[in-house]
């Protein structure tokens, strides 16, 4: 198997990760650091550091130490010109003193015009991989999962927890970033783990997700788990965190040179992949694992030239001569990689030539998830609570955790050793120890402030390596309590792709009426109106308009909110809901009404149709159904009245038949006679139209003779086709929303939301006549009474403009250069021959102007309808 590494074929063996295959091929520089372009080689091999991040198959920031090699995959490093080995910007690593922490907050702040240029330069010189904006977005799906127990980490503790859960009859999901055991060199730990793993695979009710990352813990608890195929939104009854520990990053001069390794990573390379991380290595550390690491490295052919260990650490090595008891590492030397290690011991300082330094200085709990979930149903087990615990302890703690016997509290972990001034504290963000010193001296004297000022812990590893050093540094300066505590852990705990973050999120919820396909068949241009898709026009707005004014048209108004309201106290209920009178509405009559909120401001408008038996059929504007239903139900509860509400919006379709020939069209299709006397304006009745049972409402939003046919939505298509067919001789046209906007504007009818504001009162929009303040009560009455005592200073007015166009909607209105309002609606009126509009107008000196300017056009203020102000046509 071969992978494509920067244009050359690199051999990979079964079981190789991309990183191990590259290392085998001789690659030693895997990346360049974030700011200073320092060479970086493999370091942790556990996915905890940023050193091996590369672009894999076009995806930047991939942890190649955790990613299996696959045939033909394209891999490239992300920084360095002309190559990462010889990056010309490597010069920055010698000029770090020029760019102390926070320098761009101060140095580049003035002059202001220089910042955009400086920012571009900073962005070009720093950072890591780049997202390809031309890449095709990938859609990811999510799935909801509800196991009894979620176990994060399939080490010994995690697998034992899974077996305990299965034994007690509970379902469990175990997630692991890799394949359990794959990172562990052969030995007792791996043997025990493989035995547990075999049991887990046989256990009922346990699912194991390999190569899956738990990226955070949210309230619930909700734990998103990113797998290779889906993002699982896991909502378990209990979370067991068994994420283990990461080896402590050491901070001394040269500690980030290629060739410096964390010991578990070096052992993995040697024991799992059969690769020697170095030819001659110094091993330094203080953990009980140190001896095991030495043996694994030797087996891989590494010459161990020195072992620096504290006094008393039993290493059980055959050649005790290489051991330097009490020695510590002062610095790593080298230019392109490590060439020697300076040790200090009781015998003095000494430089030992080598090409590898293997560090096992301590273990730090990988406890980000645990800290994120503080206070939730979580327990913990294994190294994450007791770093360095024995296999038996880990296994027992896993079982106890599932039984809830283990309190989830982050372990203090290994106490980080001090930081040497020349060392890099944060590998991700290139923050050195001297940066922390400077930040402290400038007054940033807590871990949280240090984090924000230096950006330490804010890189891909999210503080897994550098967090303990930040705490240790703060403590060394005398900080205590919260000032030296671990910084707040937040998701994501592991790098997450944007496609994973957006998995399963589909915000394009599109509401369609039953006639949607008919509109498309007729060539309609569809537009969004709220959540609905509606026909804007069918190709010729003007023709649609003239069809309404001169012939007949049909329009899909199935989007209107529709409610059936009944019950012994329905009338009383609606009297309180609406500002108009309801009790005097006889069956067969309908009334236009506003709906007000408690402040007396317009919430919506619609119709009330009185039905026999004390029931009412009420409509609201398109898009008002959901809010309207919630409003009605909420007030019903508050009033505690015996009222029933059924939302009929989706069950019923509605088609508006409008135009001078509307009656003629319907008469030919209805089962009963339709004439002006038997079916006058503002009446409603049941009719069969083209064999479809319709509730027909006679009204006139567009200013012409109009009938709204409300019917079972499943019969919309049948009715629509029949109307279009029968109307052909009458010149019928379907009418879209754009023509409607013009038609209603000519009539001076408002659109709630477009012509109203959040604080529009009925009086201010010229609809005070719809309000009966002499009613006992209705929502908003008290506020309207208060407001009525104050003269209005702003009102919605009509405006006319000479010429064959109208100023654009939203245009400001002015009088002698003074702003006095704005246009809410405007169009050129074909039937009138001039521009018209509605707009909010302020009073000036207690009087409303009669002439304004809008977009350099002279406008005249009018009142009432522009077209057929007496309403003769709609009452025809």
């Amino acid at each position: 198997m071969r992978i494509d590494f920067e244009g050359r074929a690199v051999e990979a063996r079964p079981g190789d990760t991309i990183a191990s295959a590259l290392f085998r091929s001789g690659v030693r520089v895997f990346s360049r650091s974030f700011k200073l372009h320092r060479r970086r080689g493999l370091y942790c091999l556990t996915g905890d550091c940023p050193n091996c991040l590369m672009t894999v198959a076009g995806e930047p920031g991939v942890r190649t130490c955790m990613t299996p090699a696959s045939a033909g995959v394209e891999v490239r490093r992300e920084r360095g010109w002309p190559s990462p080995e010889r990056d010309v910007l490597g010069i920055l690593s010698h000029l770090g003193w020029l760019f102390p922490v926070g320098f761009y907050y101060k140095v580049l702040a003035r002059p202001r015009w220089a910042w955009p240029q400086a920012e571009r330069l900073v962005r070009a010189l720093t950072g890591v991989g780049a997202v390809d904006p031309s890449a095709t977005p990938r859609e990811r799906e999510s799935i909801n999962d509800h196991p009894d127990v979620l176990i994060v980490g399939a080490g010994v503790a995690g697998l034992a927890a899974a077996l305990e859960a299965a034994g007690s009859g509970r379902t469990a999901v175990v997630v692991d970033e890799g394949v359990p055991g794959e990172t562990i060199a052969p030995g007792s730990t791996r043997s025990r783990l493989e035995a547990l793993l075999a049991d887990v695979r046989r256990a009922d009710g346990v699912r194991l997700f390999e190569r899956a990352a738990a990226i955070g813990v949210y309230e619930g608890p909700l734990v998103p788990v990113v797998t290779e195929t889906l993002v699982h939104l896991v909502r378990p009854g209990q979370v067991v965190v068994a994420t283990g520990a990461v080896e402590q990053h050491a901070v001394f001069e040269g500690s980030d040179l290629p060739g410096v390794w964390l010991a578990r990573g070096a052992s993995r390379l040697a024991g799992v992949h059969g690769l020697a991380p170095a030819r001659r290595a110094v091993v330094a550390g203080a953990t009980p694992e140190l001896g095991d690491h030495v043996r694994v490295l030797r087996d891989a052919g590494v010459e161990i030239v020195a072992v620096a260990a504290p006094h008393g650490l039993e290493l059980d090595l055959p050649d005790a001569g290489v051991v330097h008891p009490g020695a510590s590492v002062l610095a790593a030397r080298g230019r392109t990689g490590i060439a020697g290690v300076r040790l200090r011991s009781e015998a003095g300082e000494r430089l030992i030539p080598c090409d590898g330094l293997i560090l096992s200085t301590g273990l730090v709990p990988r406890d980000s998830l645990l800290r994120q979930g503080a206070g939730l149903a979580m327990t913990a087990a294994g190294d994450v609570t007791s770093p360095g615990c024995s296999l038996a302890e880990a296994e027992a703690s896993g079982r106890r955790a599932v039984r809830g016997e283990y309190a989830a509290s982050p372990s203090p972990g290994a106490q980080a050793t001090g930081v040497a001034s020349g060392g890099v504290v944060c590998l991700c963000e290139d923050v050195k120890a001297r940066d922390l010193e400077r930040a402290w001296s400038e007054g940033f004297r807590s871990t949280e402030l240090l984090k924000r000022y230096t950006t330490a812990t804010m890189g891909p590893c999210q503080g897994a390596l550098c967090g303990p050093h930040l705490e240790a540094f703060a403590r060394s300066k005398g900080a205590a309590g919260p000032a030296s505590a671990a910084t707040t852990a937040r998701p994501p705990a592991r790098p997450v792709r944007l496609e994973d973050a957006a998995a399963g999120v589909h915000l394009d919820v599109e509401h369609r009426t039953a006639l949607h396909q008919r509109h498309l068949d007729l060539g309609a241009a569809m537009e969004w109106l709220g959540a609905w898709r509606r026909p804007e026009h069918y190709g010729d707005v003007l023709d649609e308009y003239w069809a309404v004014r001169r012939r007949v048209s049909i329009m899909d108004v199935g989007t209107l909110g529709k409610f059936l309201i009944g019950g012994p106290e329905a009338t009383e209920f609606l009297e309180r809901i609406y500002p108009c009178r309801v009790g005097d509405l006889e069956p067969g009559r309908l009334r236009y009404t506003l709906m007000l909120n408690e402040a007396g401001f317009v919430l919506d408008d619609g119709l009330i149709c009185a039905l026999p038996g004390g029931r009412f059929y009420c409509t609201l504007s398109s898009g008002g159904a959901d809010v309207g239903e919630a409003w009605l139900r909420q007030w019903r509860e508050f009033f505690d009245l015996k009222v029933n509400v059924l939302n009929r919006t989706a069950a019923l379709g509605a088609i508006n038949v409008a135009g001078p020939a509307a009656r003629e069209l319907l008469s030919g299709l209805a089962d009963e006679t339709i004439d002006a006397e038997s079916f006058p304006h503002l009446r409603h009745r049941e009719l069969d139209v083209a064999g479809v049972r319709c509730h027909v409402l006679r009204l006139g939003f567009v200013g012409e003779l109009s009938y709204e046919l409300h019917h079972a939505a499943s019969e919309s298509v049948c009715l629509w086709d029949a109307l279009l067919g029968a109307g052909a001789e009458l010149g019928i046209k379907p009418c879209g929303v754009e023509a409607l906007r013009l038609l209603r504007l000519e009539k001076g009818h408002i659109l709630v939301g477009q012509d109203t504001d959040f604080d529009s009162t009925p009086d201010a929009i010229g609809l005070g006549w719809t309000v009966r303040l002499d009613k006992d009560t209705f929502i908003g009455k008290r506020e309207l009474e208060r407001l009525s005592a104050i003269p209005t200073t702003r009102r919605l007015v009509g405006l006319t403009f000479d010429g064959e166009s109208a100023p654009p909607e939203g245009a400001p209105l002015s009088v002698e250069g003074r702003h006095v309002g704005y246009l809410t609606s405007s169009r050129f009126s074909p039937v009138l021959g001039y521009g018209i509009g509605l707009g909010w107008l302020d009073s000036v000196g207690g009087r409303y102007p009669t002439a304004v300017r809008a977009a350099d056009r002279a406008g005249t203020v009018t009142t009432g309808a522009f077209y057929d102000p007496e309403g003769v046509r709609l009452r025809a």
Binding site: I143, D145, H146, R235, V509, H511, R512, A713
Partner: protein
């Protein structure tokens, strides 16, 4: 999780049915749930649905009105307000998990009201199949989401089926 290679197919069938919605006082609805026939789903203390086969519409509506109108309640056919799809187990379990955040649980029958494809929906899990209900204005969306978003499950559109409850009773 569905084990791949078992020959299972996720078949999504549109369902023809009758939905009669009844709004009224709780005792009247309680009585109706056991007497009206059809499959009774309690939407709220003051709302009950009766689900039945397509041909049951008139009968269910008459019984529902007889049960609630006398006390000022409402009963109307709401069939057209909902798009209903059915899928068989075990594929339906994963399908539901893709669409809804709430667990269905092992009990059957069970009726849940939950968010499906980002809109308020309902699900009725019977012994042999799962019914998904979403408002008809977004019915297309549910089908598209399943056919597109669950394509790794190899979904396909099945023939229309009639609603058939195995046994009447309140869910």
């Amino acid at each position: 999780m569905i084990r791949k290679g078992c020959g299972c197919v996720l078949e999504l069938s549109p369902v023809a049915l009758t939905i009669v919605a009844c709004a009224g006082e709780a005792p009247a609805l309680d009585a109706l749930a056991t007497s009206a026939g059809g499959y009774a789903c309690r939407i709220a203390p003051d709302e009950l649905w009766l689900l039945g086969a397509p041909g049951d519409g008139r009968r269910l509506l008459e019984r529902a009105r007889a049960g609630v109108v006398a006390t000022g309640g409402l009963a109307e056919t709401q069939t057209d307000a909902w798009s209903v799809y059915a899928a068989a187990w075990p594929e339906a379990a994963e399908l539901f998990a893709r669409l809804a955040a709430v667990p269905l649980g092992p009990e059957r029958p069970v009726f849940v009201q939950c968010e499906l494809v980002h809109v308020a929906g309902k699900a009725l899990a019977l012994a042999d199949r799962l019914y998904l209900l979403v408002p008809s204005p977004v019915g297309h969306q549910l089908e598209e989401r399943i056919l597109h978003g669950c394509r790794d499950l190899a979904p396909r559109r099945g023939p229309p089926v009639d609603f058939g409850a195995p046994a009447p009773g309140a869910a």
